[in-house]
Amino acid sequence: MMPFTYSRAASIDQAIEMAAGGRSHLLGGGTNLVDLMRKGVERPSGLVDVTALPGTIEETGGGGLRIGAAARNSAVAAHPLVRARYPMLARAILAGASAQIRNMATVGGNLMQRTRCVYFQDVAGARCNKRAPGSGCDAAGGFNRYHAIIGASPQCIATHPSDMCVALAALDARIHVAGAGGARTIPMVDFHRLPGERPDLETLLEPGEMIVAVEIDASPFARSTYRKVRDRASYAFALVSVAAGLTMRAGRIEKIGIALGGIAAKPWRALRAEAALRGGPATAQAFEAALAVELADAAPLPGNAFKVGLAQRTLGAVCIELSGSDR
């Protein structure tokens, strides 16, 4: 690890000020950043600890929730309102990492965590456009089982690894950010970027900006859940995951939200599939067909081609779970 300075921000303004200039990184639980510093992937000259900033979970006027960026993942998952109103969010968080990591990890850090692409993490031995723009992408012809099947670019095929973010995308969360230029709100579905020509740019956050809170509206879904698919039963990232919420009316789908994890550089909100399903019956076939439409542009690789069918079947099974319908 390279030497760095450490400071602890007492307020959002102070954090913004301390991190100005761009060579300092914000430090949440450190479960991702510190690992990457050890590996030499991240080399900040300073760390600004933001865990003393607001991490409260509060009800908003409209029956929604506002979650401070410093809230620990475990605190969010255990919160009674989260469990009662947003089961998909609680389940998504609990499906991630380990109890120890969730106790440390913050909501801000979870949103900003970096890809688990093994070539990204190997500074000494691999080429990576995300880490070193223009150097190449060793994942393309290498191990890419965990990589994207949609929305990737020739520059980068990495996925965003978060479980929590998949649920937030399905819930149409909003990300409150603040910076020297003031505060603004970014819709969760837009927050992460696709790689395009610039895989090193991962979110819409501008330099000097930070996440201060996540807001979700009152849940529109009568039922919701999260299902994560992986070889190891726990402590493994998703090969594919599905966050889905559903409200039925007279046997027809009235409200629906679907997002997928493990398949793209961002939580993949399946808007096309939702549109195809709205107003129709909730059957596994309908869901699988709708996802086929959604994934029409998928460009899987030899190492992850199985994810296309896997995502469809998983969504079909989630539909059965939510609607109580049969195949």
């Binding site: 191990f143 089982r145 992986r230 070889d231 190891r232 039963a233 402590y235 493994a236 090969l239």
Partner: protein, 770 residues
């Protein structure tokens, strides 16, 4: 190993074939088999409380004055040469004392590779260590930084700049097959075994299976990272190491650094998991050299990444198994051939075909292993090297044949159960595999299995059951020495440079010594973990327990003779010879007339001695050559496979073992369970991602190299026949490795039973099942 070795071993076996069994070790069963008191009792580990309290000091925790800390730099090309090596910035960094590279490393001879004929040779690699600017595999050590703190060393290590001129490297398994070598022997067995014409038999067999099975590379992931704390004291060397080969390491280090044997002391009282990986590698050598140069103690703890880079793992294999059977299911041909990686500078041949020789009777055999030469960190021994993955191929093939013939897989095994060693014709010392199957099947509920795949389900989950045999050879190492000091107080201390990687070495030998010497367990102390004690064998091949037991047996005989001598003519046991007495109840007792006895206290008091000390080595392990000695097991698995996702979740695992006397049910059960859990990793998740383009391991971290998590480990039931082996000390055979064997096949066979899909390529990940 060589053709000459084959010839020597063959002739020894032939001669032993003529020698009456009574003349050999194990010729008459160890009397303790019948007379155990402490042995076989449940006992908690002696080292447990100290570990729980944090008082046990591991190699990375030993305190030393003026200690310095070291950090490694690894090469990043696979073959090539260093063209620029810039160390000035590192040398100038805060706290740095030394930057060690090939430029200032003392010149050293290469290590002698581990050998089963030269027990003081324990190198895992014969490549030069920091002797030249040449890089020979990806991850090789190219520099070491020594600093006042670990952080300073780690920091400075990142400041070293190195350019390489890369050469073409051999990194592709498939590509190396054209140049495959066929070694004359595998360990001490002949490699190529051909009985009858197996290919012809196979062709005309009414039933046959013939498939290729693949197993990936694996890395060592002991909880405790490899670590050494090294100090030169005057001209002598003290090495606190995490090692499973204390005495041999001390010998080799003495030779390497030009010291007398007494000048090297290796200490390793606690090891946090070995599994074959905790041997002598480059890190001890560079740390010792650095400590000499800085003239202060040095501590080097490998990072997890470093463990992957410089500690070899298990080689990937490609194995062909073909079985031909007659209409009754009797094997007419058994073919087991394959490829694995074994660089010329490595020591471990991954003997995946050795177990196959003793598993089944067959009319013909064709068995041979081929070695591929790649530029990699040399692979090494990993829990049940050979059998762990060899049983995967063979035991899947047997299941495939059983299914094709519509015969229950246990029944098919029964029809092919050998009554002597199928190839050599030697008698088994003891073998009750079929009893293990019967006991296991009963407890597991095997009768509930439906032969038809996919016939049982629970919602989206398909349920399946599978079984497979495991096996592991009996090994007793030559050169195990023990010293016994018996005091007038009726207490005894046993000393041996043995090692404990968490399995309970001292605990079990104390139980043994209590029975052997006729003393209560509380009266026995077992000193170990230090090369200044009488040399023990390395802990490997599941052989340490019986090897030390053999030495204790020999030492107890010597002690008996010595006590009789000291007892003299005034003793109630005067006139009796060693063979006519036994050690019981704190004294010597006539076997013929148990009332004729004298206590140790009385003998030593009369002889005016506070204590008596004897040392002995175990007898040469000739029983291994005279008899076919193997442990075996029946593994049962019940699991579920999601029809939606292909996810596999194991519901139940049962291991039924036939491993001789079980010396301590508690420590034994945890060895079996631990092995079976490792078997689950082998079956379902473990895989080294070796990028054949670069020759680099891409998942050198536990985040990406998946061992089973708690949620993957179901209830594991273990049971054993407990039938003593009449040819071994205490009737015991090794139990440390057999647990992993057979598990991958039992899982794969259960996956087939659930889904109708045969996965012949480990690990069985969900995409393969879909």
């Amino acid at each position: 190993m060589s053709r000459i070795q084959n010839a020597v071993i063959e002739s020894v076996k032939t001669v032993l074939g003529w020698v009456p069994a009574q003349w050999l070790p194990g010729g008459t069963p160890d009397p303790l088999i019948e007379r155990r008191a402490a042995i076989g009792r449940q006992a908690s580990r002696q080292d447990g409380p100290a570990k729980v309290r944090g008082e046990a000091r591991f190699a990375a925790e030993v305190a030393m004055d003026r200690l310095t800390y070291a950090s490694l730099v690894h090469g990043t090309v696979t073959r090539g040469r260093i063209t620029r090596l810039e160390t000035a910035a590192a040398e100038a960094a805060p706290g740095v004392i030394l930057v060690l590279t090939h430029r200032n490393m003392p010149r050293l001879a290469p290590l002698a590779l581990i050998s089963f004929t030269d027990l003081s040779a324990v190198g895992n690699s014969s490549l030069p260590i920091l002797q030249d600017p040449v890089v020979r595999y990806n991850g090789q050590v190219v520099a070491l930084v020594v600093a006042e703190t670990q952080e300073q060393a780690d920091h400075a290590a990142q400041l070293i700049e190195i350019d390489y001129a890369a050469d073409a490297a051999r990194t592709r398994f498939e590509g190396a097959k054209d140049d495959a070598r066929t070694p004359a022997s595998i360990l001490i067995e002949k490699n190529h075994v051909s009985v009858g014409d197996a290919e012809r038999e196979l062709e005309r067999a009414p039933h046959r299976v013939d498939n290729v099975y693949r197993t990936p590379g694996h890395n060592h992931n002991a909880l405790e990272l490899h670590a050494v704390t090294v100090a030169w004291q005057g001209g002598s060397l003290v090495v606190h190491d995490a090692t499973q080969m204390i005495a041999p390491s001390a010998n080799v280090l003495a030779r390497l650094f030009g010291l007398k044997k007494e000048q090297v002391r290796v200490l390793s009282p606690f090891v946090g998991g070995g599994f074959g990986g905790k041997g002598l590698w480059d890190h001890q050598i560079v740390a010792i050299a650095a400590a000499r140069l800085v003239d202060r103690p040095v501590r080097l703890v490998l990072s997890r990444d470093s463990v992957y880079r410089i500690i070899g793992g298990r080689t990937p294999t490609e194995q062909r198994v073909a079985i031909g059977a007659d209409t009754e299911g009797r094997f007419t041909a058994l073919v087991h051939t394959g490829y694995s990686i074994m660089p010329t500078y490595g020591a471990c041949p991954e003997q995946y075909t050795l177990g196959t020789r003793a598993l089944y009777r067959a009319r013909s055999f064709e068995i041979v292993q081929r070695h591929l030469d790649l530029d990699i960190v040399p692979n090494t021994f990993m829990r049940a090297p050979g059998e762990a993955i060899g049983t995967f191929a063979v035991e899947c093939a047997v299941d495939e044949l059983a299914h094709a013939m519509s015969v229950d897989p246990i029944e098919l095994r029964r029809r092919n159960e050998p009554d002597r060693h199928p190839i050599s014709g030697t008698a088994f010392s003891q073998r009750a595999l079929m009893q293990a199957y019967a006991d296991g099947a009963g407890r597991f509920g095997w009768e509930r299995r439906l032969a038809q795949p996919g016939a049982r389900r629970d919602g989206e989950w398909l349920l399946g059951m599978g079984c497979a045999s495991g096996s592991f050879p009996y090994v007793r190492m030559p050169g195990a020495n023990v010293r016994i000091t018996l005091r007038r107080t009726g207490e005894a201390t046993l000393s041996c440079s043995a090692q404990d990687m968490g399995m309970g070495t001292a605990t079990v030998q104390i139980q043994h010594a209590a029975d052997r010497l006729g003393l209560p367990v509380e009266a026995i102390t077992f000193e170990m973990g230090d090369s200044s004690l009488p040399a023990g064998p390395l802990a490997g091949g599941s052989a340490q327990t019986v090897s030390i037991a053999g030495a204790i047996m020999a030492a107890a005989d010597k002690l008996t003779a010595e006590l009789l001598r000291l007892a003299g003519n005034a003793s109630p046991v005067a006139g009796l010879r060693a063979g006519e007495v036994r050690l019981v109840d704190g004294g010597i007792t006539s076997i013929a007339n148990p009332s004729q006895r004298e206590s140790y206290q009385s003998i030593l008091t009369r002889a005016a001695r506070n204590e008596v000390t004897v040392s002995a080595a175990g007898s040469p392990p000739l029983e291994m050559l005279k008899f076919a000695m193997h442990s075996s097991s029946a593994i049962f698995c019940a699991l579920r496979v999601s029809q939606v996702t292909g996810e596999i979740r194991v519901d139940r695992l049962l291991g039924s073992f036939d491993c001789g006397t079980i010396l301590n049910p508690k420590t034994a059960a945890s060895q079996f369970r631990g092995g079976m859990i490792m078997g689950l990793g082998l079956a379902l998740t473990e895989e080294t991602l070796f990028d054949e383009r670069s020759g680099r391991i891409m998942n050198a971290t536990l985040a990406d190299y998946h061992i089973p998590s708690h949620l993957d480990v179901p209830e594991i039931d273990v049971m054993w026949t407990g039938i003593p082996d009449p040819r071994s000390p205490l009737g015991a055979r090794g139990i440390g490795e057999i647990g992993i064997t057979g598990v991958a096949a039992a899982v794969a066979n259960a996956v087939f039973n659930a889904t109708g899909k045969r996965i012949r390529d480990l690990p069985i990940t969900l995409d393969k099942v879909l």
